[in-house]
């Protein structure tokens, strides 16, 4: 049976490669491949040539100890978080075809697990090779040790995560008795977390009072390798030692322990009593539906943002639809998961002694607002980029192309602008001391002026980006990713780079007229009053950009009216 699984894995890999090579006949993929390859060379391969001449970044050697300590803590965090992280509890993944062929065949549960493990080896090996290329070890021996070491680390982590997923399935299946069945792994995890938390509390003062980063790392290394924490982290430390080995001897001495860890995890996985087949089949069905519709399956039913009236412009109807889309894919819980990160960063800033927690959070709000303004429209895709998958339906509506484009861009622009406004308010309220650090402390009126100007600038900047991104989708539908799926490969990466370059150039050009009008107004106001006035130029900027956006949607609408749905190609 193992031979059959290996054959299936090999055929899948071979055919995927063949398909990607075949699609290079299309110019867009060929151009994408060239651009992607150039990027790949400059980003990953060129630094290696430089380092050989002795000017590169030093290899792992000098910092191996610190890296190993940090890596062991990261590996421990992965192993511990897998017990509580929502995504880590999902069943072992199989495709719909695998469920169809393997689950109905005379294949044992153990064989299915073997298949899943075999299936994941190739991608792990390729990932290991890629990371090694990025890390560019200094010698050939270090390269193969890095590839082999990372591969074994990935294999161990993969096995462990399967074990955790099965244990969580068992806990869910058996309720209270499940806790008794899983008492050993639960006791080990709780015990280990307790030991590390205690060590962190004890060692925290020494860590934060370290005079420099190097001393802090040395202290971290000491904490991780001594006492009870050293015992808890030993398996992870040993695991991390393998890809970081500086000599074949070091590699050989760590290898037996890592193989032992793999063996223990393997036995744990095989001995699990959790029945994963049903959950895996359900999961495969859900993934199949997502692939068919090129969108993720909505996880829950949230209420509509407002009641859609029966009279009014079609743009409002499309906005309503796209706000529902957002509500059904992004839950408040998802956003709340970010809260610990924000608080942790704020606490870290406070602990560094530079600013108070409130000011740190205020600064983060300003930073986040700026990032959202510049990057947000690329991430929030509840517009035409998502609806290209539904174009066959939308094109049957008695609605002009311009109205469709306007309706589609409204939802991300409104949502993004609202979030940015909230961040601006928080930033203005909490982050004032940061402005004072840059010079004379601003007055309340000045802070209000800055905040108001930023609030006026944000919507047109976000909207213009959204219009440009939707414009790319309308003008080059074959280059756009449909729904939430993404094409893979170097050629697809090259396509995305080209699209990004196109976006930046178009955006820069589109903002120039507004910026010129705003600059002229600001200069005129300064000339007349001797004061720097921001709000009026911001309003003028907004008006010019909004007018441009309107004109752009009219033009894009005409193109959309002529767009053939056959130009939209589902991704693999």
């Amino acid at each position: 049976m193992l031979g059959t699984f290996a054959y299936l894995t090999w055929c899948s890999f071979k055919n995927r490669v063949r398909r990607r090579v075949q699609r290079l006949r299309e110019p867009r993929y060929l151009v994408g491949l060239v651009v992607g390859a150039i990027y790949f060379y400059f980003a990953l391969l060129r630094p290696r040539a430089v380092s050989r001449r002795g000017r590169g970044i030093p290899g792992f050697g000098s910092a191996a100890g610190a890296v190993q300590s940090v890596a062991s803590v990261v590996l421990f965090a992965i192993a511990a978080l897998a017990w509580v992280w929502p995504g880590a509890g999902k069943p072992i993944t199989f495709s719909r075809a695998e469920v169809q062929f393997l689950f109905t065949a005379p294949v044992t549960r153990r064989q299915l697990l073997h298949y899943r493990l075999i299936r994941s080896q190739l991608s792990m090996l390729l990932s290991s090779a890629l990371i090694t290329m990025v890390a560019r070890p200094s010698t050939l021996a270090n390269s193969w040790m890095s590839v082999a070491g990372l591969w074994l680390v990935f294999m161990t982590v993969r096995l462990h995560l399967i074990g955790v997923a099965l244990s969580r399935t068992s806990l869910a299946q058996h309720g209270r008795s499940g806790v008794w069945r899983q008492w050993l792994p639960l006791a080990v995890v709780f015990g280990a977390v307790g030991v590390l938390v205690e060590t962190a509390i004890q060692g925290w003062p020494d860590l934060v009072s370290a005079p420099d980063v190097r001393t802090a790392f040395l202290e971290l290394q000491r904490l991780c390798s001594t006492g009870p924490a050293g015992v808890v982290l030993w398996p992870f430390h040993t695991l991390a030692a393998l890809p970081l080995a500086q000599s074949p001897d070091q590699f050989a001495s760590a290898l037996p322990w890592v193989l032992l860890l793999i063996g223990l995890n393997y036995v744990w996985v095989l001995r699990s009593d959790a029945a994963f087949e049903e959950a895996s089949a359900e999961h495969a069905e859900r993934r199949g539906l997502e692939t068919a519709s090129a969108t993720a399956v909505p996880r829950r039913s949230a209420s509509a943002p407002f009641r859609l009236g029966l009279i009014g412009p079609p743009e409002t109807a499309i906005l309503w639809k796209n706000l529902i889309l957002l509500g059904r894919y992004v839950s408040a819980r998802t956003l709340l998961r970010l809260l610990p990160l924000v608080v942790a960063l704020g606490l870290a800033s406070q602990a560094s002694g530079h600013v108070g927690l409130a000011v740190a959070v205020g600064g983060m709000c300003i930073w986040l607002g700026l990032m959202l303004m510049l990057m947000g429209p690329q991430m929030m895709r509840n517009d035409l980029r998502h609806d290209l998958a539904n174009l066959a339906l939308i094109k049957t509506w008695p609605v002009s192309g311009a109205a469709i484009v306007r309706g589609e861009v409204l939802a991300p622009a409104i949502v993004m602008s609202s979030v940015i406004w909230l961040l601006i308010v928080l930033g203005a309220l909490l982050g004032q001391p940061l402005l004072a650090r840059m010079g004379e402390p601003p007055t309340a009126l000045e802070v209000l002026g800055y905040a108001l100007s930023a609030a006026i600038l944000a919507p047109p900047v976000v909207l213009s980006q959204t219009v440009v991104l939707n414009g790319i989708a309308v003008l080059f539908p074959a280059w756009s990713s449909v729904g939430t799926s993404r094409a893979r490969g170097i050629d697809a990466m090259g396509q995305r780079l080209l699209m990004m370059a196109g976006l930046l150039v178009t955006l820069a050009i589109s903002l120039v007229p507004g910026a010129a009008v705003a600059a002229a107004a600001m200069f005129a106001a300064y000339w007349m009053t001797g004061m720097v006035i921001l709000v009026v130029p911001a309003v003028l900027f907004a008006l010019v950009v909004l007018a441009e956006c309107w004109m752009a949607t009219e033009l894009l609408g005409r193109v959309l009216d002529r767009t053939d749905v056959n130009a939209i190609e589902p991704v693999e």
């Binding site: 029966l310 409002t316 008695p398």
Partner: protein, 248 residues
Amino acid sequence: MYTALIVIDVQHLTKTYGAFKAVDDLSFLVGPGEVVGLIGPNGAGKTSTLRCLVGIQAPTSGSITIARHSIVSDPVAAKSALAFMADEPHLFEYLTVMEHLRLTARIYHVPDVDARALRLLDELELTGKEHLLPVELSRGMKQKVAIACGLLHDPAVMLFDEPLTGLDPLGIRRMKETIVARGRAGAAVMVSSHLLHLVEEICTRVIIIDHGRKIADGTLDQLKTTPELVSAGASLEQIFLTATARES
């Protein structure tokens, strides 16, 4: 047929995909109250024809007029008069059944959506499913939701592509009744299907196409008496097989 009564007017429609000609110089007229079956072998050009008729795909050449509006030059007015029920029900995965109907009502300016929606949901046996997402519906139910959306604005033109796919026996009977009732109410209906007994049962006229070209057009009685098909026999299946075999 008087020109004023023609609801669907297709003249010299051609649709090509690269070098492949899916529809080749196709012309036909459909009047109000007609239920026209569009049949043909796989790859004959049925779906391409329907997709051109509803404006999803642009015709390579030729003209299409729906309720006296060109689908190319005046698409909004033309689309206001028609409904297309595709073979694969296309729904927004994140909207509930009722939200689909409300969105459709707004797009097509339907005034009394709640009353109409309840009537349609009842007619299509979807009562109680109003607040479910498509992912929670079977394929047949999704098909019914798509049809409910299509019927909501009482269109003058209805185009069905394999309307019975995925429906249970009761659903099939209800669907046939629905199509016939809309035709009797004055709508121009086109049904594309491989189910020849369905076409024979509900259609007042049949158009047979093959390799993108029209090879027969008329009522079943007219087809039976066509000199080339007179030897075929009495059933639509025999006529279809003879016509397409002769064409091949």
